[in-house]
Each structure stands twice: as C-alpha cells, then as structure tokens.
C-alpha cells in the first residue's frame, strides 16, 4: 500500500532528524553543566628581586593588564593590580610620598593599595606571589 510505504519513509525521516536535533541539543547542555577547567590561570611572571629596590615600584604586565611590585621602606614586598578601581586608568607610584596616585581623577592609594582619598570605590587588588632564589614569581 502506497500510503503505508510513504508513512514509513516519512516516519524514518522524522525520527532521524529528530534524533539529530536531540543530539544537537544535548551537546550545549552537557557543556553548560560540565565542570570548568581551572586552567584559566594566567601565565606567571618572573621578576628578579634586584629589579625592585627599596622604596621603589616596578610595573609589568600580568594577565593582560597592568600590575606593580612595590618594596616598601622597611622591606615589605607587595604585588598589586595597577588598574585604578575607579575607571581603569593605570596608577603611578609617587616615590617621594611612597603612595600610588591615579593621574586621571586624583585617586590616592597607600603602598598596600588601600584607598586614601579620591573617587576609587575599592582598594587595588592584591596579586599572589612567591620569592625564591632572588626571583619573585607573581601568579
């Protein structure tokens, strides 16, 4: 019977395409649910200790943005993001006053990145680092 043959053919087409669509739906849902790989860690940056004398700051690039290493007077080393938390300008190190100043709207931060005055809403983000064999590894 012609109708029956057509029915089977159409049924197969329908079923086949529906299965393909179902597979196409399962893939994004699986990816959505799958645990994220924590391999989104940024490449580490290494800086020799002697590049950061006491009372001075060294700016470098970390994770695609500007960062800074500061060695305070009294030998305390800190790694911070140098992106001002106000609107994103890069802060400058004022050696005479030993603090950070943002040239855009005058935001002031201590050597630890804490906001002293001005428009910045949050402190500068701290970055993790280790020191070994005269080399500072940030990240």
């Amino acid at each position: 019977m012609e109708s029956s043959g057509r029915r089977t053919f159409l049924g197969v087409c329908l079923g086949g395409l529906a299965a393909a669509v179902a597979a196409a739906v399962t893939w994004p849902v699986y990816r959505y649910l799958a645990p994220r790989s924590t391999a989104t860690t940024a490449a580490k940056v290494e800086i020799p200790e002697k590049d950061v004398p006491e009372g001075e700051a060294k700016f470098f690039e970390f994770n695609g943005a500007s960062a800074v290493l500061v060695r305070k007077r009294g030998d305390g080393l800190i790694a911070l993001s140098a992106v001002c938390t106000h609107l994103g300008c890069i802060v400058q190190w004022e050696k005479d006053q030993q603090y950070f100043l943002c040239p855009c709207h005058g935001g002031h931060y201590t050597a630890e990145g804490v906001v002293i005055s001005g428009p910045p809403p949050k402190p500068l983000t701290k970055l993790p680092f280790t020191v070994a064999n005269g080399v500072i590894t940030v990240g």
């Binding site: 994004p28 849902v29 990816r31 959505y32 649910l33 799958a34 994220r36």
Partner: protein, 367 residues
C-alpha cells in the same frame, strides 16, 4: 520486533497499558473540523516545560543575593559555555508564553468554547493567566539590573491605591519600605517554587476538566451552531464518527510545536534583545532612577490605563472590574449561539476590546 512485543505484554498484564492507549490515544475520537488554534494548549505545555528546564539550568549558576545576582547573570551570559543560549531561551520563552497564552484565550473566546458546561476550564485558565503574569513579574526582578529594580518598584507601588490596606500591602510585597534584598528573597521563592507548583497544579486541573467534559466542537462548518448542553445531568461530550487523537491530532500538535520552535529560535538567535533596553544591562542602583522606565510589553496596557485616569484608585478599580468580568464571562454570557459570525454584537465588543487593549499597549510604548 518480538522482543518489543514481549516487553509491552509484560507491562500490559500489570497495568492494562493497551487499554489506556486505546481509550486515551488511538480510540479517543475528536471532531473532524478541529483547527490549528486547538494546538495552542499543547504549545503552551511545551513552552512551560522548556521554561522549567532552562530555569533549572540557570538555577545552577544564578545566586539570589542582591550583591551577587547581577554578577552571576553576567557570568552566565559571558563565561559559562552556552550560558547565553540558556538565558536567552528563558527570557524569550517568557514573552512567548504570554503571547501564546493570549492567542489561546482569544481563540477560545471567539469560538465561544467557554460556555456551559466548560466554566471550570475557563476559570482555571483565567487563574493560570494571572499566575503566568505573576511568574513573569517575579522573574523580572531576579537579574537585579536597573530595569529589574525600577520596574518592580513601579509595579509594587501600584498596590498603594488600594484603600485601607494599600500601603501595608506594598510593604508586604516588598518585604520592606523599598525594593531591596528582602524583595529579592521573596520574589525568588515565588518565582522558583510557589508559582511553578501552582501552575502545574492548575494545568493538571485544566486538563482534567478537559478530559472529563470532552473537547468542544469548533462552531465552523456546522449547520446548527448552538450550544446543545441541557444541564440536566453529567454527560461526556462524545464525537462519534470523529478521528482519533493519535496519530492524527497528535501529529498536528507536533507540527504546530515545531513551527513554534522555529519562530522561537529565530528570535533567540537573530533578535533576542527585542525585549531588552539598555537598563537591563546596568546593575541596579537604588539611588538613581533611569529616565524612562517601562514595564514589559504585556503590562503596557495596564500602565497606560493607570496614566489615563486622574485617580490611581479609579485606574485600578477599572482594571479590577474588567478582569472580574473576564473571569465570570461564562456565567454572564449565557446565549446558546456559538458561531462568531452569528453574534455581531458580541464580535464587535470583543474585537473592540481587543483593539482597545492593543491601542493602549502601543500608546503605553510611545508615551
């Protein structure tokens, strides 16, 4: 396949599966002149299921805390693989649900299928309508954007106009004097748990009544289009000589669902931000009201109605009365005639009302 037959036999001797299939599917006869509008209900069921699935997926990454909500949604949209797709399906889906629900309601209205003995269907449908509005309103707040925050402020403010209990009701809805973290808490509970459970329960009731009473015959192409129901005793509305639900109408419903999905995905992939304004992507700022706050498109008519009347209370009352009439329609309109073209006055009023609603919505959009 012999194995398949043995499996079905095994199930059949335990629960009488073949009997159920014969009664509900292949033996369930329906009138021959059923049109595409009858598929709207199935489409709505599909939309609801998709909303629940995408909603649960979103729940995995969304954080219902005023400080973290916006960031979590930004995370879903930008970092989670296909997060943008799940979220936009949920957003577009909610507008689609309201749209298809309106189409469903309007088609039932025009085909006069709300009349006796189908009052229960109309009532449960009406309650579902208000629940869908409620779930849309509560869901709107969750991203905690400027749009969320201020649209909710405006919406909850409206209860102020109710005499005596108004101001207290506003506070109760918000969980405080102003929209804030307590509002997010209660709206989240409503949106994710209470209202979906309510919708499931009422859809169950709606389908039960449909099953019990029997599907209505469209009034088109018939010689006698008056309501035959006597009201002297219960009887299931049979359609002898009709065609079986399975596979005929099951396939028609499936076809309608596929066409719906095509339209839905076209919006999701090519213009998903149709319903968004700039404020939807700015984090909520309780200290800064944006210039033009408008509610979602399905609330524009209400918004405009309230703007027209000088007193907020009258604006609210007018809408309340109208909604009550809509709910009680089957009790008020008892004329036995069902064919729309044989009811010119009814059609004029119904079409007039519909055009008025559309007009108010458009006006609300441009005002």
């Amino acid at each position: 396949m012999a194995l398949l037959k043995r499996l079905i036999d095994w199930i059949d001797v335990r629960i009488g599966a073949r009997e159920v299939v014969a009664k509900e599917l292949t033996g369930y006869l329906l009138p021959r002149n059923i049109n595409t509008w009858y598929s709207m209900g199935s489409i709505l069921l599909f939309i609801f299921v998709l909303q629940v699935v995408t909603g649960i997926l979103l729940l995995i990454y969304y954080v219902p805390d005023a400080d973290k909500a916006f960031k979590s949604v930004t995370y879903i949209m930008n970092e989670v693989p296909f997060g943008w797709l799940i979220r936009m399906c949920h957003v577009v889906g909610s507008s689609m649900m309201v749209l298809v629900l309106l189409l469903h309601m309007i088609s039932v209205l025009f085909m006069n299928s709300y009349k006796s003995p189908r009052e229960f269907n109309w009532l449960t449908g009406f309650i579902l309508f208000t629940m869908v509005q409620g779930i849309s309103l509560t869901g709107y707040l969750l991203p905690w954007s400027q749009l969320s925050f201020w649209a909710t402020t405006v919406a909850t403010n409206s209860a102020n106009a109710i005499p005596v209990v108004g101001p207290y009701l506003v506070e109760f809805l918000r969980g405080g004097k102003l929209v804030g973290p307590p509002t997010l808490g209660r709206f989240f509970a409503l949106h994710v748990a209470l209202i979906p459970a309510g919708i499931v329960a009422l859809v169950g009731a709606h389908l039960f009544f449909l099953q019990r009473t029997g599907v209505s015959t469209p009034p088109f192409g018939l010689k006698d289009t008056t309501d035959q129901w006597k009201g002297d005793g219960y009887s299931y509305e049979n359609h002898p000589g009709g065609i079986p639900f399975f596979p005929n109408y099951a396939l028609e419903d499936l076809r309608s669902i596929f066409i719906y999905i095509a339209c839905f995905l076209a919006v999701v992939f090519f213009d998903p931000y149709l319903f968004f304004t700039r404020d939807a992507f700015l984090p909520a700022n309780p200290l800064q009201t944006p210039a033009h706050i408008k509610p979602e498109w399905y609330f524009l008519a209400n918004y405009q109605t309230l703007k027209i009347f000088p007193s907020e209370f009258i604006g609210l009352a007018v809408q309340g009365i109208a909604m009550t009439f809509l709910a009680l329609l089957p009790f008020i309109d008892r004329s036995p005639e069902r064919h729309p073209l044989k009811r010119p006055l009814f059609m004029a009023c119904a079409l007039g009302g519909l055009l008025l609603w559309i007009g108010l919505s458009v006006w609300g959009h441009y005002s």
